[in-house]
Subunit: 166 residues, 2 copies
Amino acid sequence: MSKGVEWAAHAAVMMIALPEGRGLKAEALARYHDVPTAYMAKQLQALSKAGIAQSSRGAHGGYRLAKPATGISLWDITAAIEGHAPAFRCTEIRQNGPCGLKRKDCRNPCQIASAFAVAERAFRDSLKTVTLVDLAAQVLQNARPEQLSDVGNWLESETMPLSDTS
Amino acid sequence: MSKGVEWAAHAAVMMIALPEGRGLKAEALARYHDVPTAYMAKQLQALSKAGIAQSSRGAHGGYRLAKPATGISLWDITAAIEGHAPAFRCTEIRQNGPCGLKRKDCRNPCQIASAFAVAERAFRDSLKTVTLVDLAAQVLQNARPEQLSDVGNWLESETMPLSDTS
């Protein structure tokens, strides 16, 4: 799994705290997490494409969440960055070689592929139960008051009004 | 996930059918599955290193399972090929940037990393419930008699006695 999932998840949790109608530039979100701007921008674009974030164009372009955080799960973030393709890709090698099965006898998935599909569903279902709100709540529960104050001050100085979002 | 997991899983299921003391060359297992010998050999070496397969050296070198198939799960095969490292790697970016947490406040894992750890455990636990015996039983249930006969004949002509296994 790429680092982008970690970055996108942290950026998405951060965006919960944005006041109505305001956003953060990709550059600010990158600086907040001390990661390269270009790569953070790439993750934010992927979140936008997946309908998780929305952006405004132009010199004052910025990002905010596109929908309520209760409706955004860690699986949504993961799929936005890594795609929906299964990790195990069955190439039907049971049809190969001197004793290969005939295609017409392979209407059901291969047992090995089926077992991986079950395991991947368990992974996905687990991530689907965790929303951005759950993650933010846990961050708040563990934060010291002075950390919250630092984050609040930083947000106040960095957020900007978003217009013409897409 | 690499194709090697698929190949190793199919090869391991095939090796269940080997008579006591007999094995198959990497070249034969590659030919049976119509995949490149060098890459199949690499997967078999990984299975050996993980204690799942055993090999004999020399011109008559070959592979067989190193332990009862009831004790070999699809997770064992996956870990032998892909390693045990988690798919999600936390780089502790919560400690980064202008509002980064202090290291001493990060004794507990990051909430995002924890959620991925739970999901990966669900994936792993699911694969652990599926043994080579389960997979082989499903193959047998779905096979036509003539397919079993083909496989039996192929095994009879390709297996060889193994000695000096390691």
